[in-house]
Structures are given as C-alpha cells and as structure tokens.
C-alpha cells in the first residue's frame, strides 16, 4: 500500500468502485480503495440485481433513470456483460388504497419522464400468465426497469480503475480516521497508515461506524434482508413482480433462476444468517401468487443488510464540519441501482468542490433541519 493518496475510498462495493471510476474519468487516479473483506463482500454481492425508475420522489426517479441509461451502456463502455434485461417491474395492488398509491406514483413518474402505466387485471394476465389473479385489482408497470447480474458490474469497474492506476486493496480493514485541526488527514488500516486529502465513506452497513471514526454521526442502521434463488426454469417471467403490502419481489435471471425476497421485520444487526422463517414466508407468498411454482425447488438462500436511513433515502455529499469527508451511504436497499449516477455526482463534488443540484436533497444536514418526504417504495 502506498503511504499517501488524494482520495481514500472505504468499501469496494459498487458505490465505492463507481465513485473511483468516475474520478478516474475526471483525471483523478491517485486513489486507494480499502475493503475489509473480498470485493463486493457486502451488499453489492448480496442483492437481487433489481433496477427500477419507479420511485416516489423526483430526485430518486432522476438518479434511477440516469443509472438505467448507464447500465444499458455498461457492457460497451466497461467490457463486462452485466446481463441487464429490461423486462420491467410490475407492482401489484390488492386494495383500492394500494391502487391509489400506485396511481399517484405513476403520475409523478410520468411527470419526470418515466412512462409508468397502470394495468388492469386482464392486462396483467397477458403480461404474466403464470400469475394467479385472485385479489389483484391493478398493477403499475414500467417496461424500462429490469434486472442485472451484480458482480460483473463490480468487475467492470474494478478492471477500469486498476488500469487507470487505482490501488484496490481487499482484506484491508480501516481501524481509524485521522484528523488535523478538524480536517481529514488520512486513515489507519490493518496494513498501516495512509495519508489522504479526501476520504469517502462507502462502507454500506458499516458506514455509520466508519463515520463515527471521523467523529461524525450518521443516522443509519443495518437491517438484515434475506433472499433466495430457485433451480433454473425456462424463461416464463418477464417483469420483476412486486407486492406492496409485504415487500415481496421475484424475478427470473437470464440463466433461468427465480430470485426473490420479502420483508421479514427484525431488529438492527449485522447478521447475515439465513432463516427457515424467511423460506416459509417467501414460499407461501410465491405459491399463492404463482400456484404452478409449487414444485419448483429452492436451490440456495443467503442474506445481506440494508443500510437504512431515517427517511429511506441515501445520504450523499460532504460534511461541512469535517472537511475532506464524503458520505455515500444510507441507501436503504436501493444503492446498487443508483450507483452509476451517484458515482458521477460524487466524483463531480470531490473534483470540483461544488455540490451538484441533484445531490443537495441527499445531504446529511437534512436530518438536523427540515423534514423531507420519506421514500415509501422500499421492498424486500
């Protein structure tokens, strides 16, 4: 490891690697990315690969929309096939109230250039014939949403930044953050000290602990979320199917497996244990929605964490009382899908010192001051 660098990024997940990549695109490559375990060992390697523009705020829609464009272009730009398949996201409503929520969201999304439309039960049946329709009153569908395979995104960014001269160090844990008269001056790691002008906290579920090392309180907490994959089936499920009441989601990957999860409420923790309770709940819901899947076998299950912020929106930007520190955390379960845009905007901030307008609503200071609308469309 070198002794000093311009930017030290904590966390070699998609967030940290996208920021590193966008910095290199701006000519900054004196960067060290520090990862306490293996590449993508946190949530970048544990998510379901869902990418959607169906959100409930103008800024989340803008981040997601720009990121979808970037993912469409990713294989050409970075030389890794990320298997991005735009089969859409279909949100299902089972009550008039849920239908009204979806209609409101769809109107906002259309206002911001995302052509989400409401589907009748008949249209839903035509789109997903395998879906049992009992109780479904309506759906919201955006064809441009989709699923990708997360790891090739990491490899694409990794190769690009390494070629640009960035040092990426797995199995290197940050143990402290140094300050000189209030300003960030470097990090201490299990491989020694590293002087740095800027430090980016992209540590996923550990980001509040990392921020605390710099004396900054970041109000996020890790929550375990479980997920599973079935044996592969012939392609039959085009969109990702989501139900609002329990956060159930399920999609089919390009290699045929069904991948899905649903919310099992729990206490904050770093646990990644798998539970039988999750398997049972997911299976019950999946078979209810897709009766013909009863014979399909679950092949593996795993867990990850959402780094959850009080309003379920990311925390992005600088920290005025701690110059040199940048936050890229609090993604609350939707960090992967907005990572290309977040990388671009944070790189702009770090390189120019000016906060891009789209980042402003995500600033840490919102928790001390004005109230901000909560993102309500968090699933899984």
């Amino acid at each position: 490891m070198k002794a000093s660098c311009e930017v030290a990024i904590i966390g070699a997940g998609v967030s940290g690697l996208a920021i590193a990549y966008e910095l290199t695109q701006r000519g900054i490559s004196d960067i060290v990315v520090l990862e306490k375990s293996y590449l993508g060992s946190g949530d970048s390697g544990r998510n379901g690969g869902g990418v959607r523009a169906q959100w409930t705020s103008a800024e989340n829609i803008a981040l997601a929309k720009g990121s979808i464009e970037a993912f469409r272009d990713f294989s050409r730009r970075l030389g890794y096939n990320i298997w991005f398949r735009q089969g859409g996201y279909l949100f299902l409503a089972f009550t008039a109230e849920e239908e009204a929520t979806l209609e409101r969201n769809a109107a906002l999304q259309r206002e911001h250039g995302v052509p989400t439309r409401m589907l009748s039960p008949q249209e839903i049946h035509e789109l997903v014939p395998a879906l049992g329709l009992s109780g479904i009153v309506a759906g919201a569908y955006h064809r441009g949403d989709g699923v990708l395979v997360p790891y090739p995104v990491l490899w694409g960014y990794l190769r690009a930044v390494q070629e640009a001269g960035v040092e990426v160090l797995p199995f290197t844990e940050v143990t402290g953050i140094d300050r000189e008269s209030g300003r960030i001056s470097g990090v201490r790691t299990t491989r020694g000290s590293l002087r740095a002008t800027a430090v980016v906290d992209a540590a996923g579920p550990w980001s509040s602990e990392i921020a605390a090392m710099a004396g900054v309180k970041v109000p996020t907490q890790p929550f375990r979320h479980e997920i599973l994959a079935t044996e592969p089936l012939k392609p039959f499920l085009d969109p990702m199917v989501v139900t609002l009441s329990d956060g159930f989601y399920m999609s089919q990957t390009m290699r045929g497996e069904l991948v899905g999860g649903l919310t099992v409420p729990g206490e904050p923790s770093h646990s990644w244990d798998s539970s039988l309770e999750f398997l049972r709940r997911f299976a019950r819901r999946a078979v209810e929605l897709f009766p013909r899947l009863a014979a399909v076998r679950v092949q593996r299950q795993w867990a990850g964490s959402y780094d959850v912020s009080p309003d379920h929106n990311a925390i992005l930007g600088d920290v005025p009382e701690r110059p040199g520190l940048y936050l890229a955390c609090g993604y609350s379960g939707h960090g992967f899908m907005i990572s290309p845009m977040v990388g671009r905007l944070l790189a702009e901030l770090i390189a120019t010192g000016r906060t891009p307008a789209l980042l402003e609503p995500y600033h840490l200071s919102r928790f001390g001051t004005a109230e901000r609308a909560e993102e309500t469309l968090v699933i899984g």
Partner: protein, 91 residues
C-alpha cells in the same frame, strides 16, 4: 492428467482453465473465485467441485497472502420445493 477441457464444475460447465484464469487475475480467495469463475452455485451447490478448486488455489496462492478459503454455507442442504416449504402439496 488434466487438459484444457477438464471440467471442474459439471453443474455450470466451469473448466480447470477457467479457474486458473480467474486465479491469474487475482481472484484468489475462495468467495471471489467462486463468483468470478462461476462454480459452485448450480444444483449441487459445490459438492462436486470444491475439493478440486481448493487444490488449485493451494497450488497457485502465494504464501502469506491474505485470503479466505472457506465458503459461507448457503442453505438448504438439498433443493426443497416451494410447495413443501409453503406447507402445501406439490403439484
């Protein structure tokens, strides 16, 4: 005796050459290697390939390199039908 076409993971058609190429690129810990080379996530969930992969890793790894050589377990031990888990009859 192995050849370039020697299959390490029969579930996912991963060859010995694929695993060596991934090791060469620096994916030397077992978790990263599994993801990059793509073995161990098919129907047998690694029961058929892990011993052979570990032998290749041991052969290639530099002494003292920080690494993990254990894979986190992914339940269930054998594939289980959604219908069985849901408490309904298979059908």
């Amino acid at each position: 005796m192995t050849t370039a076409k020697t299959i390490i993971c029969r579930c996912e058609d991963v060859t010995e050459a694929d695993v060596r190429a991934a090791l060469h690129l620096g994916f030397t810990d077992l978790e990263s290697l599994k993801r990059y080379a793509g073995f161990g996530t098919g129907p047998c969930q690694g029961k058929g390939c892990l011993s052979a992969v570990r032998a290749l890793v041991r052969e290639t790894a530099e002494a003292g390199e920080p690494t993990t050589q254990r894979l986190r377990t992914r339940p269930p031990a054998v594939p289980v039908a959604l219908g069985a888990l849901a408490g309904k009859e298979e059908g």
